[in-house]
């Protein structure tokens, strides 16, 4: 099963913008190692920033895939720029807000911002920006061949689309 780093799509504007959220929970096992208690101090569970990049990649990847109704195999090809200013702790909610900057038959570039909701204050705070490049791998420049079925957008993605009322996009 593919690891999903977004929980719910909350906003969708066709061909332009997609917003998704992820709730960070202390029940997530990876937080127990990131960072575990050790000689340098007590445990400090925080959402790994590399997985926040993946969360943005999944958000933006669904957006890019939706443009051609998930017929293209959309692969994250390059992290152009990523800036995350602060840590996210269990109990907080991350919001990934991705927009398409440019797209053609070979791929797309996206820009995204990351906000975090602290439920104690009820307010969102901007904590980062991530710029990504996606490739439509069947249109790769080197002419490499890939399997015919779309292994990128698995059942997990379809489930998230259906829960957001967007299941028809993947029909």
């Amino acid at each position: 099963m593919r690891w999903m780093w977004i929980d719910q799509i909350t906003h969708f504007e066709a061909d332009r913008r997609l917003v998704a959220v992820k709730n960070v929970s202390l029940a997530e096992e990876h937080l127990h190692q990131h960072f575990a208690a050790g000689p340098d101090g007590p445990a400090c569970p925080v959402m790994p920033m590399s997985l926040m990049v993946e969360g943005m990649a999944q958000t933006a990847g669904v957006l890019v895939g939706s443009v051609n109704r998930f017929r293209e195999k959309v692969i994250l090809a390059k992290v152009n720029d990523a800036r995350i200013d602060r840590e996210v702790i269990p109990g907080q909610t991350i919001r990934y807000d991705a927009t398409i900057e440019r797209m053609d038959a070979a791929g797309a570039s996206t820009m995204g911002v990351i906000d975090v909701l602290d439920h104690r204050t009820g307010s969102w705070e901007r904590i980062g920006e991530i710029s990504l490049m996606f490739s439509h791998i069947d249109a790769n420049r080197s002419g490499l061949q890939f399997p015919e079925h779309n292994f990128v957008f698995s059942d997990n993605f379809r489930l998230i689309l259906e829960q957001a009322g967007l299941g028809s996009l993947a029909d």
Binding site: R102, A105, A106, G107, R141, S142, G143
Partner: protein, 134 residues
């Protein structure tokens, strides 16, 4: 007002510094995008998108079509590529579609995988200048 060749070079230099993470000083006119500046296949798409943005103005959009700057979708055509090398027809098409590239040293080679080594910083500047109507 039309950009000078120096201004075009500076914008192209900025695009390559941002796209490839190289230093200004590395981006000389003769630098090859792949072997000298480390560009990989996805970087060509990134460079295309960034050039669009760098040279567009509110009055005049600047949009590079697919395959206009770098060759694409030629490899699977047996009339154009045979045994991993461009045929005479393939070479003729490359030269026609890419007047911004110097093919002088490539005629004897013709290997598909070597075509990306033809793209220098100067060829990008020449492409932009032509597209801007210089």
């Amino acid at each position: 007002m039309a950009l000078t060749n120096d201004e075009i070079f500076q914008k192209v230099q900025g695009v390559l510094v941002d796209a490839l993470g190289v230093d200004d000083g590395d981006v000389t006119p003769d630098a090859v995008l792949t072997t000298d500046l480390g560009a990989e296949s996805i970087d060509f798409l990134d460079i295309t998108f960034r050039l669009d943005k760098a040279f567009a103005t509110p009055e005049k959009p600047f949009k590079i079509g697919q395959g206009e700057l770098f060759p694409e979708n030629l490899m699977a055509n047996p009339d154009l590529v045979k045994d991993g090398k461009f045929t005479d027809a393939g070479m003729a098409l490359l030269k026609e579609k890419m007047p911004h590239v110097n093919f002088a040293s490539f005629d004897a080679d013709r290997r598909v995988e070597a075509v990306s080594e033809l793209f220098t910083v100067k060829s990008l500047c020449d492409f932009v200048a032509r597209k801007l109507g210089h």
